[in-house]
Symmetry: C2
Subunit: 285 residues, 2 copies
C-alpha cells in the first residue's frame, strides 16, 4: 500500500478518478475530501470515492501522506494558503493543473521553502464531464501523466508521485515547466479555444435558423471539448496566456494560408497541404 | 425493388456504401461502376459491392434507372459531359456532392434541358476513410440526406431519390441550394478547414519536438476529420468558396473575441462565454 491517507482537494472528475483508482488497487487506506460543494462531497461519500470530508482544511490534511490539488487553477493560491499551516516535513503536495508556470510561481510565494515538497503534475486525461459522478477508476489507464519536478524536490517524493500515477495505469514522463506549458498550449489549450470559438460562431447564425441540426459526426467529435468545464478552462486560458496567445496568432497564420489558397483558387496547393496534414494525422494513431 | 439497374460513378466510401445498402435491402438488381482506379473497381467487384464496371460510360449508364455521381466535385463537369449522350427520358441523375451551387450551375450548362432529370443530393454521412474498402452498408442509417430539388425536377423523380436514401435508413430533407451551401459551410466545411489548419500549425512546431505525443483524446477527436480525402476537400473548399470565405472571417472574429478576453484577463467574460457554449453543445446530443 502506497499511502496511509491522502487528501483530495476538489473531488471532481480528476480527483475522484484518482481516488477511485487508488482505492480499487488498494493503494490507500483513507481518502479525505475538501471542496466547495457539500452536495458533491456527500455524493462522493455515497459513491465510496472518499471516506470523509470537512470544511476544516486542518482536519483534511492532518496525517495525510499526500495532498492533491484538483480544482480550477484560480483556486490554487487561496487553497495553498489554507494548506500551508499543516505542511509537516513528510507531506507531499501535488496537483493536477493543466498549466504549470503560474502554479509553481504562486506555490513558491505562498509556501516558501516547503516548495521542495511540491511536485507539480498534470494528468493528460479527462472527459468533457465534470463532478464526482463523472469520475471512474479507469480514467488514467494508458494515459500520460506529466510531472514537472522542481530543482528543490526530493527525488523520493517525486518517485512517490510517479508511483501513485503508475499504480492507476498511467505512463509518467517528466518535463520542464516551460516546455510543458508551451506544448500543452498547442495540443490542448488552443484546440479547446478553437472548439469554443466554433460553437460560438455557429450559435450566432440565428438568421440562418438552427444550423446545428445539419451537423454530422465530424462536427460533434470536433466540438465535444467545447462542453468542458467553463471555469476550469477560463482559468487555464489566463494561466497559460503567454503561450496560448502566441499559439492563437500562429494558428491564425496557418488558417490564413488556407484562406489564401482558396482565394486564389489554388486547388493543387490545397490538395497538397491537406495530403501532408492527412499523413501527419494518420501517423498519430 | 426500387431499381433494375443503377450506375455508381466513383465507387468509394459514399458510392460503395449506397451500393451495399441497396443490395442488402434488395432494392436494386444490377449495380454498375465507373471510376479512375481499376484496382479500386476490381476490389469493389471482389467485395460484392458492384456487379461490373467499364471504361465505357455508355455501357455503364445504358439501361440504368439512376446514376449517382460520387466523385470529388471537380470531376463532375467532365463526367456529366460523358454521361450526357446516354441520358434518355427516364434516367434520373443524382449526386452526393458536399456543395450544390456550383454543381447545379455546371449541370445546367452541360446537360441543358435534361436538368429536369438531375436531382441534387448530399448525404450528411462519411468517415475520414476513403475507397471502396471503407464503405459499409450501415453508413446512412439514422443520418440525414439533404436533397436540393430544382424547379424543373419532376416530383416523381425527386420522390425516387428520396425513397432510395430512405431505404438505406436515412432521413431525407429538402433544402434550397443556397441555404444548403451556407449551412454546410458552417457545420462541415469550416470545421474541416479548422482541423486542417490546426494539424498544419502543430506540424510546424519542429523546434519544440514532437508535440503530438502529448496530445490526448480531445485533440484526436478534434483532428480526426483532418485525415479526410484531400482532393475531395480541396474541391469542396473551392466550390463553396463564397460561403466558406465569409465563414472563415466570421469565425476569426469569434476567435478574436476570445483572444481579447484573454488579453484583458477577463476570466468572468471567458467563463460566461464558455458556459453559454457548453449549454449549446450539450443541447446537440
Amino acid at each position: 500500500m502506497l499511502f496511509n491517507k491522502i487528501a483530495i482537494i476538489g473531488v471532481g472528475l480528476i480527483g475522484g478518478s484518482l481516488a477511485r483508482a487508488l482505492r480499487a488497487n488498494n493503494q490507500c487506506r483513507t481518502i479525505s475530501g475538501y471542496g466547495r460543494s457539500r452536495e458533491n462531497l456527500d455524493k462522493a461519500i455515497a459513491l465510496g470515492v472518499i471516506d470523509d470530508y470537512s470544511d476544516d482544511m486542518g482536519a483534511v490534511v492532518k496525517d495525510a501522506d499526500l495532498v492533491l490539488l484538483a480544482t480550477p487553477l484560480a483556486s490554487f493560491a487561496p487553497l495553498l494558503e489554507k494548506i500551508k499551516p499543516y505542511v509537516n516535513d513528510k507531506l507531499i503536495i501535488t496537483d493536477a493543473g493543466s498549466e504549470k508556470g503560474s502554479v509553481v510561481e504562486a506555490a513558491r510565494k505562498i509556501i516558501g521553502d516547503k516548495i521542495k515538497q511540491f511536485v507539480p503534475g498534470h494528468p493528460i486525461a479527462g472527459t468533457e464531464k465534470s463532478g464526482v459522478e463523472a469520475s471512474f477508476k479507469e480514467l488514467y489507464e494508458d494515459h500520460l501523466v506529466i510531472l514537472t519536478p522542481l530543482p528543490e524536490n526530493k527525488p523520493e517524493q517525486v518517485k512517490s508521485v510517479s508511483t501513485m500515477w503508475e499504480s492507476c495505469g498511467a505512463r509518467v514522463v517528466n518535463l520542464d515547466v516551460e516546455y510543458h506549458d508551451k506544448v500543452l498550449a498547442a495540443t490542448s489549450h488552443l484546440p479547446h479555444v478553437l472548439a469554443y470559438a466554433l460553437v460560438d460562431c455557429l450559435s450566432s447564425m440565428e438568421e440562418e435558423g438552427d444550423v446545428f441540426k445539419f451537423s454530422a459526426g465530424g462536427f460533434r467529435d470536433l466540438t465535444r471539448i467545447a462542453a468542458s468545464n467553463p471555469e476550469m478552462w477560463s482559468d487555464i486560458c489566463l494561466a497559460n496566456k503567454y503561450h496560448l496567445l502566441q499559439l492563437i496568432d500562429r494558428y491564425s497564420s496557418h488558417l490564413d494560408k488556407i484562406k489564401e489558397l482558396i482565394v486564389t483558387d489554388d486547388g493543387k496547393g490545397l490538395s497538397q497541404l491537406f495530403s501532408k496534414v492527412r499523413n501527419t494525422r494518420e501517423n498519430l494513431k
